[in-house]
């Protein structure tokens, strides 16, 4: 609990730093990318820009100078050759083109290749983008935390003293997810097989969500608010559900215990059940994506309120800045909660779906 309150205090400190950065960067921001026709900041562009993936990790803009970490671009050109170069190269040439590749502003700033005949095509793009780096940071944190905790148990017997401090906290956290979430959701009989996967998913989403709330490096990338990530996680859960589902599960899909007319001439129930296989991961994907994206969008929009109102009038700007700051603190606290809840919900629903894929045979006959 102490660590948790420390975490919140740290978050608040980050928030203040972020707000300060915002004020300092105000003139720069007004003159930089996200500027509309009337001199107003283009909120949609700023919000989407901050939530989007990027080929460089933008930290701040200082007097018109972009302070950012360039990341490697790895693309396969139309000629089949692989090109690897730093994303800073795009800024070095006058027209923003390097080896025929350029950032297409009309296509979300993705890397495109301009062929000899002038057509622009999207190459196979395996660049290490901001999101990719953020994912690997999460992987590194998870490894550091859990493997170091697991190593603590080496050379220790079950009869030894229970761990305290950080290892004790991690153990308590892992065991609370394991015992209070996974075990009752999957069921006593099968939960051991799926616990490592579900724990990995939970902590991956949780740590990613928390890092997403940090305003600057090493956090701040919008990972779980990107449909590709939630799609991947939902596919993983769908695989876990359907690959390990038992015979009874498949029998209930293709021959559910309902009156025969619902399945014999027109296979109505089997079709509905088959849709269920698709809708379950789809719901998982959209829920996590929408929740995290929405939270980030609200916080970013509230930040934009400061810049918009300051453009209108100093008095309105100052008063609304105060309101906006209060609301942002509230939203950040709420997002801290949402970061946990969404990881919890994703894991719980995955666990429930896995549990539903292991029905007991007598259970079905009771229903029928």
């Amino acid at each position: 609990m102490k660590l948790f309150s420390q975490l919140i205090r740290l978050r608040t400190a980050w928030l203040c730093a972020w707000l300060l950065c915002g004020f300092v960067a105000l003139p720069a921001s007004a003159s930089s990318a996200g500027e509309g026709e009337s001199g107003m900041p283009d909120v949609k562009e700023i919000v989407l820009g901050h939530m989007s993936d990027a080929y460089e990790w933008h930290i701040t803009t200082w007097n018109g100078h972009h302070l950012s970490i360039p990341l490697p671009v790895i693309v396969q050109g139309a000629d089949g050759k692989w090109h690897t170069f730093s994303s800073a190269r795009f800024h070095h040439s006058a027209d923003g083109t390097h080896e025929g590749f350029f950032l297409n502003e009309e296509a979300n700033g993705k890397v495109y290749e301009r062929l000899a005949d002038g057509t622009e095509v999207r190459p196979l793009d395996l660049s290490v983008t901001k999101n990719v780096v953020q994912i690997w940071i999460v992987v590194a944190i998870m490894c550091a935390v859990f493997i170091s905790c697991a190593r603590w148990y080496r050379n220790r017997k079950p009869g030894d003293k229970a761990p305290g401090g950080f290892v004790g906290l991690v153990e308590m956290f892992v065991m609370s997810i394991n015992d209070d979430l996974i075990r009752p959701s999957v069921g006593e009989k099968h939960y051991r097989r799926f616990a490592p996967y579900l724990l990995t998913v939970f902590f991956f989403i949780f740590i990613t969500n928390l890092l997403g709330l940090l305003p600057i490096f090493p956090g701040g990338a919008n990972i779980t608010g990107n449909i590709n990530i939630t799609f991947f996680l939902a596919i993983c859960t769908a695989l876990m559900v359907n690959v390990f589902g038992n015979r009874e599960y498949w029998k209930e899909i293709f021959w559910p215990p309902v009156p025969a007319w619902l399945k014999v001439p027109v296979p109505m129930m089997p079709v509905i059940e088959l849709f269920g296989i698709l809708t379950k991961p789809f719901a998982l994907m959209v829920r996590l994506f929408a929740n995290m994206m929405g939270g980030h969008a609200i916080i970013l929009a509230l930040t934009c309120v400061i810049f918009i109102t300051c453009q209108i009038n100093a008095v309105i700007g100052t008063s609304l800045t105060f309101v906006s700051a209060v609301l942002m603190i509230f939203m950040n606290c709420l997002e801290l909660l949402v970061a946990f809840i969404q990881a919890y919900v994703f894991t719980m629903l995955s666990a429930v779906f896995i549990g539903l894929a292991h029905p007991e045979p007598h259970h079905a006959s009771k229903e029928a």
């Binding site: 989407l48 939530m51 989007s52 993936d53 790895i74 009309e106 296509a107 979300n108 700033g109 993705k110 999207r122 196979l124 793009d125 395996l126 660049s127 290490v128 983008t129 999101n131 990719v132 994912i135 690997w136 999460v138 992987v139 998870m142 490894c143 859990f146 493997i147 905790c149 697991a150 190593r151 148990y153 220790r156 079950p158 009869g159 229970a162 991690v170 153990e171 892992v174 065991m175 394991n178 616990a195 490592p196 996967y197 724990l199 990995t200 991956f204 919008n222 608010g225 990107n226 449909i227 590709n228 990530i229 799609f231 991947f232 996680l233 993983c236 994506f289 994206m293």
Partner: protein, 168 residues
């Protein structure tokens, strides 16, 4: 892939999916191999150990209670035995004393009887002696008296002389 109107967070991105797959597989493998199962296994083992220890403590307690009961039972038994032995010993002692007293009494009575009979015999002897002596004396005296009566002075003189002679 050419969904230009959608924001990038809603656009499928093969590169991101590829890296996500790779990163997730790596972290999943590492966690499964070196992470969570070790932690959960250790905690479960600890739980089992605690359960076993509790069970053992219960058993030990029960055994201790049994031992205490057994000890008390033994003690009370020993006390009963002791009391029994003591009373037996007392009875034996009493009987020995009684016997000894009876025997002593009998012995004493016997001795007394013997002494009495001896005394009686001695008395009879003494009486017999006395009676004899008295008879002799009486005879002697009677003799003397008779002699005196029978004679005069002269006779008396003679008697005295004879008696003196006899004494001599």
């Amino acid at each position: 892939m050419q969904s230009i109107n959608l924001p990038s967070i809603l656009t499928p991105d093969l590169g991101l999916l590829f890296w996500m797959l790779l990163a997730f597989l790596v972290v999943f493998f590492l966690m499964v191999k070196f992470g969570f199962p070790i932690i959960t296994k250790m905690v479960e083992e600890r739980k089992q150990f605690i359960d076993e220890s509790l069970q053992k403590a219960h058993e030990a307690n029960e055994r201790l209670a049994g031992i205490q009961q057994e000890g008390e039972r033994l003690l009370s038994e020993a006390r009963a035995r002791q009391a029994e032995i003591l009373s037996q010993a007392k009875a034996t002692g009493d009987s020995i004393v009684r016997e000894a007293r009876e025997r002593a009494q009998a012995e004493g009575a016997k001795l007394l009887q013997e002494a009495k009979s001896q005394i009686e015999a001695e008395k009879q002897n003494a009486l017999r002696d006395i009676r004899q002596t008295v008879a002799e004396l009486s005879v002697a005296i009677a003799e003397k008296v008779v002699r005196q009566k029978l004679s005069g002075d002269k006779q008396q003189q003679q008697l005295i002389e004879r008696m003196l002679d006899e004494v001599r």
